[in-house]
Point group: C2
Chain length 203, copies 2
DNA sequence: TAGATTGTTAATCGATTAACAATC
DNA sequence: TAGATTGTTAATCGATTAACAATC
């Protein structure tokens, strides 16, 4: 639906949102220039980005902070609850299951899936761990739309294959491997080690 | 030193590296076209990217796979061991302490720093947990060059302030807040919740 | 009113892609 | 040789920035 917004812009919206939320209790209005200075970016870019949302600035005044937060949250779908599941309940999966930040975006982690019999049937941070071989049934029953892949690279593609076939709409992939998925299927990759390596190569 | 390579290109180098490593035991040579098809990108871009490293392709043959892997590893500093430390031994910090992927890039996680007295003095995955108030001494003693911030957003800036003053050269920041650091100091931000939210907004 | 700010249109910049000569 | 592939130069595309009219 929002296929027209550049991804690079979309990625900045949460940054604005975090910043504006951090101002809670501050001034009623904030200008694009003030946001730009705080975030170290150009003010025209801020206005262009915000224009993708329903936010409306007032000339000479700026944007109503509370309204702007609401517009960003609305655009990012924070008011539109979605269920997510974690695939792979290892260290990272475990951390994500107990991470509180998703709910700010209307995302609830409802379950984990793993293949370890020791973990299956238990709960982690109050979230049930199911057998990964029951992914399809579980995803359908729970209404999972977003999947997070935290399994080893060697198993990521097979998990992804199941996921694309069972109603999941997007995958956040932590496995350092390029997943083959249909053209229109959304995947974002986060390679934790590579991110640190990139920094390392710069110093 | 490599300030001339576009960050966008630098970010693709680990992707090539992962792909080429996954081909272990395969053909001796690989062409930019083959890489491009596998990774779903343009072949000229692949050649341009690889040209930043010391890799040399042979006309009509392609790149020697083993040499190419070595060139990428060399460029990314994998043979140039660096120490990293985790700040904040919560769920995510814990996961990163036991994550094995960093060593592929020559990065060793040598310690964690936390403020919880229950954690200070213990070990997590064999890595000692120090008092965050002793960051400066610890970082200097251990020769830490890279820091990973996993503390809550409310404390991230104060941790960063200490880090920039004690010889750390770059920060990987998981706290959803923009860190104020000197111009030339390298920071990469990974907002886990925002990454999932971006996907969520696309569906 | 004068000045500050938005929103938009035009210009610039940088990254990607296309074209192609060189090579084996 | 003919054909495949690299590496480079030129063209294109998209994102950012600059300029500026509109507004209160």
């Amino acid at each position: 639906m929002k296929s027209d917004i550049p991804v690079t812009c979309l990625q900045r919206l949460p940054v604005y949102l975090n910043y504006l939320k951090s101002l809670d209790g501050g001034a009623e209005y904030i200008s694009s220039g003030a946001i730009a200075r705080a975030l170290n970016m150009g003010e025209v870019l801020v206005r262009k980005d915000l224009a993708y949302t329903s936010a409306q600035g007032r000339t000479r005044v700026g944007y109503n902070r509370v309204e702007l937060v609401a517009a960003l949250e609305d655009y990012l779908g924070c008011n539109n609850k979605k269920n997510a599941a974690i695939f792979g309940a290892g260290g990272l999966g475990h951390a994500l299951l107990s991470y509180g930040g998703f709910i700010n975006y209307g995302i609830e982690i409802v379950a984990a899936f793993d293949k370890d019999p020791e973990k299956i049937g238990t709960e982690i941070s109050g979230k049930p761990v199911y057998d990964v071989s029951e992914t399809k049934e579980g995803v359908e029953k729970l209404g999972v739309e977003l999947a997070v892949i935290c399994v080893p690279a060697t198993h990521a593609q097979e998990v992804a294959d199941v996921l694309v076939g069972c109603g999941v709409k997007a995958i956040l992939n932590f496995a350092p491997v390029l997943l083959k998925v249909p053209e229109d299927f959304n995947v974002r990759n986060i390679d934790l080690a590579a991110n640190l390596a990139i920094l390392s190569s710069l110093i």
